[in-house]
């Protein structure tokens, strides 16, 4: 009975740890394509960010700025998000991390599909060798995967 219980716990733990595999191909870039129109994908992205406990700070309407300046573009937005306690704590203890705060993901229309792309927060490990920051970067990486997974697969 104890063995079965232990096995169950281990299996559950492993399943939570399985990679979400939402990420796309390119090394430090996390990228997904979804068969959703831009407004639908944008809506799911914002919900997914909130579901991971982040505050949606702002949506930068890049396409609007480009269009006003006379350039043609499909919909293109940058979604900024963060957690107040994280940003406050990290910016005080590691001020040189500020240029990478808050977190962000780009979303743009690609024909009838939408693409969401962001830098894998784990690349920050190369930029900031302080090992105390690693758990934070890896937490962000997992959260990014969860957010992108939810947008792509709805889970």
């Amino acid at each position: 009975m104890k063995r079965s219980l232990l096995m169950l716990v281990l299996v559950i733990a492993a399943s939570f740890a399985l990679p979400t595999q939402a990420a796309g191909p390119a090394h430090g870039l996390l990228m997904i394509r979804v068969k959703q129109s831009f407004p639908e994908a944008m809506s799911v992205l914002q919900e997914s960010i909130a579901d991971e406990g982040y505050t949606l700070i702002r949506v930068q309407r890049v396409d609007v700025g480009l269009t006003k300046s006379g350039y043609k573009t499909a919909e293109y937005r940058i979604v900024f998000f963060g957690k107040a306690d994280e940003v406050h704590r990290l910016s005080k203890k590691y001020p040189d991390l500020i240029p990478f705060l808050p977190l962000k993901l780009a979303i743009f229309a690609e024909g009838n599909d939408s693409i969401v792309v962001g830098a894998n927060p784990r690349v920050l490990e190369d930029f900031y060798p302080d090992k105390r920051l690693r758990p934070q970067f890896r937490k962000w990486e997992r959260d990014f995967h969860k957010i992108l997974d939810r947008v792509q697969y709805g889970n």
Binding site: A26, I57, V62, H88, A106
Partner: protein, 376 residues
């Protein structure tokens, strides 16, 4: 990257032999599961070994090449004229090595079986068997091939075979051609393509793309051999091409200001106007996260954009959103006022795109000029 491969082998081993699996007692299974946790948490986001080709394609390729292989940020692969004219070895080497400096990354973490599964899936698009090309070199006059290349190929493939500008056929931007002309002087291409495959392409062209049949255009078999010899001679320049090592670049550009925080922010606004950058917004770092008035007023972000420059960058790679908008953070700390910005040259390395590297070099210089102008 190796970790994912190991995991794939682990999964294959687990599913490969039921008899062996039964022999595992609960302790070894538990140990394996515990081992699985760190592997999967830190491994790259590539498919496991038992996934089908369609799943692996969806996971690793579709973001760029489109769900149906008809292109997007990456070139269309499902065009019959393409997929029916390339052999499996070409596709295998392309997936394995990518195209250095041309957006297509190398998928070094994918196992051989996974790559073969992807290729098998790609073959279902047309249901045709791949051609079989001999691997021997084609002899020809490189000098004559160079002349023919200048008159027949350079318009699309570039004077030096460097390929068309930007990414594949991205549907997010206006584009002039239905497909990006591949870079021929690329180490990844030359490693993947046999002389016979290049000749086949020159003889037949690629229906559905601007690549015409050179035989129909009047070139003789000998002329085409000369062209193949010239393309193969690009190996030397491909080998000599080295991307700058981004790890030598600092992740940030930092300049200390000789003025107070408010004066520095104003000087920065003036500097970006001088640099033809449009001011987007000035805000505190914690704005939007904390109640208004509670933010740290000594952490200020100045957002700006040069829309012409941005349009150029998006044509080169529509994924550059992680640079947007341009921003310089001004922080007052322990009596010092410091300006900080991400170093575009360091981040550009994420994109595997030589053209973007050049734009990021320009952006780096712009940042430095602005910050130095504002530091007095």
């Amino acid at each position: 990257m190796v970790r994912s491969l190991d995991l794939g082998r682990y999964n294959q081993a687990r599913t490969g032999s039921r008899t062996k699996e039964r022999r595992l007692n609960w302790r070894s299974t538990a140990a394996a599961l515990l081992f699985l946790v760190p592997l999967t948490q830190t491994g790259p986001a590539l498919g496991a070994g038992d996934q089908t080709g369609a799943q692996l394609f969806a996971r690793n390729c579709s973001a760029c090449h489109g769900s149906d292989g008809m292109g997007g940020v990456g070139v269309p692969l499902a065009l019959p004229a393409f997929i029916n004219s390339v052999d499996d070895a070409f596709l295998r080497a392309t997936i394995r090595h990518g195209r250095p400096g041309r957006v297509m990354p190398s998928f070094a973490a994918l196992g051989g079986k996974q790559i073969d599964s992807i290729i098998a899936y790609m073959r279902t698009w047309t249901g045709k068997h791949p051609p079989a090309y001999p691997r021997k070199h084609i002899r020809g006059s490189v000098a004559h091939g160079e002349k023919l290349f200048a008159s027949h190929c350079a318009k699309c493939h570039g004077d030096h075979g460097q390929g068309g500008h930007g990414t594949g056929v991205t549907f997010s931007r206006p584009r002039n051609l239905p497909i990006l002309a591949p870079a021929l002087n690329n180490a990844g291409f030359l490693a993947a393509a046999t002389d016979a495959m290049i000749k086949h392409t020159l003889v037949l062209g690629r229906s559905g793309t601007p690549m015409i049949s050179f035989r129909k255009a009047g070139l003789s078999d000998e002329d085409i051999d000369d062209l193949v010899a010239f393309v193969r001679s690009m190996q030397k320049s491909a080998d000599a091409m080295h991307r700058p090592d981004p790890s030598k670049e600092p992740p940030m550009i930092v300049r200390e200001s000789g003025s107070g925080l408010e004066q520095t922010v104003q000087a920065l606004k003036d500097a970006l106007a001088d640099a033809n950058m449009k001011l987007i917004r000035v805000q505190y770092l914690e704005q939007g996260l904390l109640d208004p008035g509670k933010e740290d007023k000594k952490q200020v972000i100045v957002y700006s954009c040069a829309f012409g420059f941005l349009d150029d960058a998006l044509k080169v790679d529509p994924r550059v959103g992680l640079f947007l908008p341009c921003r310089v953070t001004v922080v007052q700390e322990k009596g010092r006022v410091v300006m900080m910005a991400v170093n575009p040259k360091r981040l550009s390395a994420l994109f595997n795109n030589n053209e973007l590297d050049q734009l990021c070099d320009r952006m780096y210089k712009k940042y430095v000029t602005m910050m130095e102008d504002a530091s007095f």
